[in-house]
Assembly symmetry: D2
Homo-oligomer: 138 residues x 4
């Protein structure tokens, strides 16, 4: 179990009042938990600005599987990047549209590269990269 440290924070009463309202409307149980979340969000955001950093995340795509060769191309690219892909989950949204989630873990620049290649395939309608973390010391 990791050691817990404790320190004091000074804050203007008006700002604290607003923060306490934010805490309750966002379901936090106490100020510490809300502050830790703000800190972690900022640190993870910063991880994703450093080219060589090891990160984790997910590429979320929507595509029309009827489009000529889209499925074949997606599989080919995913195999080229198998070292950074952990798993792929596939959802049938309707008769035409698929939602596919590719979980990735690796160097940030390789993940960006994969994300860009998938996005440019004809038939892929939308792709976003969800920027998460390996969770170490955070």
């Amino acid at each position: 179990m990791e050691e817990i440290k404790r320190f004091g924070v000074s804050i203007e009463s008006g700002l604290l009042e607003k923060f306490d309202r934010y805490i309750s409307s966002n379901n936090y149980q106490n100020r510490s938990e809300a502050l830790r979340d703000l800190i972690r969000k900022e640190l993870v955001h910063n991880e994703w600005t450093k080219t060589g950093e090891m990160v984790a995340g997910a590429i979320v795509m929507v595509y029309d599987h009827h489009r000529h060769e889209v499925v074949g191309r997606l599989i080919k690219i995913q195999h080229d990047y198998n070292s950074i892909i952990i798993s792929t989950q596939h959802i049938h949204l309707d008769h035409d549209n698929c939602l596919e989630i590719i979980v990735v873990k690796g160097r940030l620049d390789k993940i960006d590269e994969l994300s860009s290649k998938l996005k440019s395939i004809k038939g892929v309608k939308h792709a976003t990269l969800s920027k998460s973390t390996l969770g170490k010391n955070i």
Copy 2:
């Protein structure tokens, strides 16, 4: 197969040159595909500003499964929102950290609510909501 329309676009030569460089460095095969992607990105972005809109996406979370009751709480909340959750995928990042991806489809405000509740649980280190689309007419 959906009907394809064609129309002409006017653009300054300097801007077109820069756009063509963008197209090739982002792996697009032609200008139409790159423009359709820019249009779709903008439309999906706008969908996510309308409270009652039906959308699809994924909540990507990292948490420490050793934390007291975190797993139980996550499952309880997910069951409360089972009508908008399609599936959950779980990855073991290391001895302590889990990456969990919850695929969601439903009203935007319900999805926001779920995302906020999951994020505030003690033990959940990071959570992002990847904003995607149902893919209809887009």
Copy 3:
């Protein structure tokens, strides 16, 4: 002078270490100042999600003043919205391009409306809305 409150925060030692490195590389003098900044950033971000909220900010535009009627149109629209415009600053970037900064204060939905109208004018190459705050109790 506003009253200052003080409270204790609990945090894992690994996370605190990373936060302390963040603090020093971002020039903060102490943890309290860095935490207050994270809180204020989150609160201001939330202000900008509430339609009727009173906010302050700046619209930053780049345009080519040679373009037919662009200057006349910009002035006309700005006069239509004079109740939310505080001032306009104009910079000559080069022979063709102007950078114009319009400081705004008022209801969020009116500011969005103004921003959208300016952006759509032919000759306006780029426009962003910088989302700031009136600074009250924050």
Copy 4:
């Protein structure tokens, strides 16, 4: 006057319909103007990912001028970075709060550095960096 080029775009009829609705609700006069804006937004966004790039923008800050030494510190830092600061505009929001807009032009990494230093000053409540462009060939 810059040369105008013209080319054809292919697009699914459903997507075009949605785009046409977007065009009219965003006050664009025609498809070309809306498309040029999407292209320029993407290109400017990309400019701000390249460390050595020359860019233009504005730092928008809110601060409490009563805070000990905040005004002196702001002026000192601005003088240290005078080579990238074009001008500063100051608005009195209320008895305590000032809105200050610093127009900047220069290397992206220097602008980031300035922005970070201003933000960390005690008394500065909020600071955002509005990422715009020099407007050349765009």
